[in-house]
Symmetry: C2
Subunit: 649 residues, 2 copies
């Protein structure tokens, strides 16, 4: 005898055999209901709500009485309110008549989740690593299967995992003791439906992964809950390789000049990852070995060094990388002290210097889903990457921005951390300064004593824009030393500088200044980005862009108006300029939380067209023109009113 | 236009496009011709002989003139005799007319080879690991594929390897330098058509693997040429774990009593493997890292300890192993210092104590191919394994033999190595002894001064049989101390002993004796084997066996008559008793040289039926009866004449 079962909100329906459980019915009808224990009635994850009444739309009458009676296990897992609200465990109730079942968001196997970040990003929660609780029959003299084979067969039977599932060698080593410690009840962590990478006694539902964006200057890491898609801990550190060279080329050179140079830099970043894994898991009461999945994004040179692949051929024509495709590397092979059997996933390279970090930006921003409009995406880092186009065609290039916009090589530059000045305004008439420090709500001078220690990326861009808008520096970026104002002075080295904050306001007891050299460093960086964008526009055959997306570790705090005033990108309606924060980091997170994004990454890495710009014959000329604020010849109609308002001094 | 090409001796034929090479024609027609360079005309492996004349059988006229002219590369690779005999390189000659081609044995891709061992064993040379030479297009600004992707595509194009071939992470690390050192010409070593495990610059055709039989007492290793199937070096050592316990159970106990016991024993055997790999490769001018494949066989307890899997549950009911199936483990994960990316293959377990070593015996002896006759196979080791049956049904059991038959726990016992007495005869009238020492051609007393240092397994069996046949010991194994002869005496401990060799004959300056305790140890061992065999016979429903195969590290030297006289196995026509040497080692070699044998192992491991004998209620009674020489009640018609001739003293 059969009954009709309908699952909401998907609307999937069908006739099922009387007496099977709702969980089995869901499987038959292709409805993915969350469950860890495979129907053993212990995990309580498969909560569903039974709708009562006659439902005209479906033509069925549904009732709690069409199900077998409430079981003890359900009373243990459901609270009073849930019981009163017709909640049941799908694994416990047998179908005895027609039912309409509502599967709440939390019980859905494949959940749509919103990533909490600089920008709202929706994705399907579908991690590479999942957990399965299973109860095995005990070994007996009649049934002396191997412990592994016993586990595998139970996983196959209760969770539908492949019959030829593999097990990591080091997990196998501990297996006999673990299964007996758990009295033949264990939780297996499985990678990509293919390999068991962890087995814990009893039921354990903690499931976390780490997404890391290894920038040339900054390493940003995100500890994520793979069951909910939530980011549990965000942390970052200076790339410890900085001591071997500030930019990509100097690190490649270091590896060529020193026999153990590559190994040293490799070890440095691996130790950095281990430090992050340690302190991030500690914050939520876990161990680094609880991390069972990890995604890495980086530019191609950082990828080579992090993976200990000789980067020297990257630094010279024809710039061929050791490998371009994504890789799955055992954590232990890389020396990363997370779960020993975990498999670290690195995103693919596009081309030469356009690395996995730009692929990560693309899978986060998805310009290939934009049907018509021309999108310009700028990922600001020590190496800048630029993408231009839409679903029809997508171009990319890379440019040597230098670390200035990340606060390095700037006299008082620092990372975006508490104590960093992140926003600055200069009164164009009085030249008086107001600024905001990370970690403090109010602006100076509303508070007279600040925590200011230095200036971070967004503050640096504000700084140059404000100096320009107040006439302290001219279009060429040169200080106007005719100005008679205590803030405009010459430093100890005789070079012009602007006093951002006086010693007594700061936390460091020193004047925080912005120097002529600092202005130059920012000009070099912004010119590189601007020229790259223009080359791509020419190659794509467009003379304007419809939108600009600013990404980067500090990207969400960037003042888009300031960025356009200094000419970091071609003219665009400010309304359509968006700062999205660390999109590369978001891409790393997305690849961690949704394996589908890994496939998307492989696909887009092959599809995007790389444009080599540094070898263009007129590069130097263009670069020089782009050094000016905002540009020596190009027009910026959308901010012309601002430029017109600059006082002549 | 097409021409007919016929390949001999396979007889494969077909029409091929004019102008393709013979190598391409062979591929099209499914003829496997050896080649390393994929048609790059450099390896000289694809020699074929062109038959001339009209061949009625095939109806074609074949001629050297139906091929493109001889090329320079062919003159480099073929000698005068070969050139005179119509030899060509298949990759160099294009088909311009009908040809009949003979592919000589050495050029056939899948060769039938005979293993040089205690027994002739034919097999197909089809190793898991193969080498491929390939020339890649150089990287250019227009073609900046990754080095790995470039290599993979070249391997796909020239050798038909899968387009999704993988590469070991550590091989990838070195790849950029290796491909450039080889000027884009490299030799890739590929495991199972699936993963690149080594890349060398230029053309390198050395390809060796190591097969190892890890016995409880003895470790036997075979360095094999994977290109020819020949055994290059044979070596063995005492299992270094012996210091932690002489037999399986004492080692399991050691692991339970000492917190780091398992780890210590694991390290000991891994170091042993590393020592063997080092000294064996050294003998042929190679490095241990040149070993690119390895197979391991062992009993289940040795398997667990070697793989560092806790063996304690093996030692208690229900004796469930950690895993039963075959495993592929990265050499580096196991700590074995061969090629870092090599994958070590362990054969599957049958059941409890019947381990991969017995599976190895089975794939070497192939009793499952015997249609009718009942075969009894006894693998003599510290743990003895017995198989009985034929293609219809196959039973197996294991018995605790102890290490006596390997020379351990015997006063002057030693391994089968130079200086070991391997054959002994005692004149039943004079009690004078003649014996043969390993490493010396002639017997004592033909040479008066020998190299004798001790007695190995075959000598030990001879010893007990000869003592019995000469009436020095009685059916119960007790010394007859009424005998008045200088060789029959009491030792320093007052216990009876027999002088095998006088101090002055030996290399150790001491009398070599065989004691009452030694006789007892051999009786215990042979009784265990006998009882096991009888249980299997009952279970199978047979009262006699048609043939007996004696295997074991020293198995090929065993005197089958001596073995039957002491009652090591039930009565059988001596004609049908065969000693085959280390069949487990042969199985390890076969699995190394032919992947097909690995599949066969997986199949037979599941099919053979394990019989638990030690738990039978009448085990002790049977065991006591089997202690007698040859047995207290069972008859041995085939050697009755020998028993009848034993003098009464």
């Amino acid at each position: 005898m059969q009954h009709q079962v309908i699952f909401q909100p998907s609307g999937r329906r069908g006739m099922v055999e009387r007496g099977i459980t709702l969980l089995e019915a869901a499987r038959e009808l292709g409805v993915d209901i969350e469950n860890l224990c495979g129907g053993a009635k212990v995990c309580g994850k498969c909560k569903v709500k039974i709708e009562e009444g006659f439902f005209e739309k479906f033509g069925i009458e549904s009732s709690m009485e069409h199900l077998s009676p409430l079981q003890e296990e359900e009373r243990d897992c459901l609270n009073e309110a849930e019981l009163a609200d017709n909640y049941r465990l799908a694994c416990c109730c047998e179908v005895l008549g027609d039912v309409l079942v509502f599967v709440p968001e939390e019980s859905r196997g494949a959940k749509q989740v919103v990533l909490e970040t600089g920008k709202e990003r929706k994705f399907n929660l579908n991690p590479a690593v999942r957990k399965y609780y299973v109860e095995m029959p005990e070994a007996t003299l009649e049934d002396h299967r191997g412990d592994f084979e016993r586990l595998r067969e139970a996983l196959h039977e209760h969770h539908g995992l492949p019959a030829d599932l593999e097990i990591d060698y080091f997990v196998l080593r501990d297996l006999p003791n673990v299964v007996r410690e758990g009295r033949w009840k264990v939780t297996a962590t499985v990678w990509n439906n293919r390999e068991i990478i962890r087995v814990e006694p009893g039921m354990k539902d903690t499931l976390v992964g780490l997404a890391v964006d290894i920038g040339t200057t900054t390493v940003a890491a995100y500890l994520c809950d793979l069951r909910t898609g939530q980011v549990l801990v965000v942390d970052s550190m200076m790339n410890p390789q900085v001591r071997y060279g500030e930019d990509v080329l100097s690190r490649i050179t270091y590896s060529m000049m020193n026999e153990d140079g590559l190994e040293k830099m490799h070890q440095a970043i691996i130790e950095g990852l281990n430090t992050l894994a340690q302190r991030m898991t500690e914050k939520v009461g876990l161990l680094p070995t609880d991390i069972v999945d990890m995604t890495l994004v980086f530019n191609t040179a950082m990828q080579h060094i992090a993976l200990c692949i000789d980067p020297k051929f990257l630094g010279r024509s024809p710039f061929a990388p050791g490998t371009k495709q994504s890789r799955n590397i055992k954590a232990r092979d890389l020396g990363v002290n997370i779960c020993r059997a975990a498999i670290i996933h690195t995103l693919p390279v596009e081309s030469g210097f356009v690395g996995p970090d730009n692929v990560a930006v693309l899978i986060a921003e998805e310009p290939y889903r934009e049907p018509e409009k021309i999108r310009l995406i700028i990922d600001i880092g020590t190496n800048g990457e630029i993408d231009l186009g839409n679903e029809k065609r997508l171009l990319c290039t890379s440019c040597a921005t230098g670390p200035a916009l990340e606060g390095a090589q700037i006299k008082f530059g620092m990372r975006a951390a508490p104590g960093a000045i992140e926003k600055i305004r200069i009164n164009p008439e009085t030249l008086e300064v107001s600024y905001k420090v990370i970690g403090q709500e109010k602006w100076y001078p509303e508070i007279q004593k600040t925590e200011a220690k230095g200036i971070c990326g967004s503050g640096i861009i504000d700084m140059v824009a404000q100096l320009f808008r107040s006439g302290v520096i001219d279009r060429s970026g040169r200080f106007n030393m005719k100005i008679n104002h205590p803030r405009v002075r010459r430093g100890a080295d005789g070079k012009p500088e602007f006093v951002v904050a006086w010693a007594e306001e700061t936390a460091i007891g020193k004047d925080i200044t912005f120097t002529q050299a600092d202005v130059r460093a920012v000009q070099l960086a912004k010119a590189a980005l601007y020229v790259g964008a223009k080359y791509l526009m020419e190659k794509l055959g467009v003379d304007k862009v419809d939108s600009v997306t600013l990404a980067g570790a500090f990207g969400s705090y960037i003042d888009r108006e300031s960025a356009m005033v200094i000419g970091m990108f071609p003219d665009c309606d400010l309304e359509n300029v968006q700062a999205v924060g660390n999109a590369a980091g978001d891409g790393a997170k997305l690849a961690l939380l949704d394996v589908g994004k890994r496939e998307e990454a492989a696909w887009i890495a092959r599809r995007v067209e790389f444009v080599e710009t540094a070898i263009e014959p007129d590069f130097q000329t263009r670069f020089a023109a782009a050094m000016a604020l905002p540009h020596s010849t190009d027009k910026f109609p959308h901010i012309q009113h601002i430029l017109d308002a600059i006082p002549k001094r």
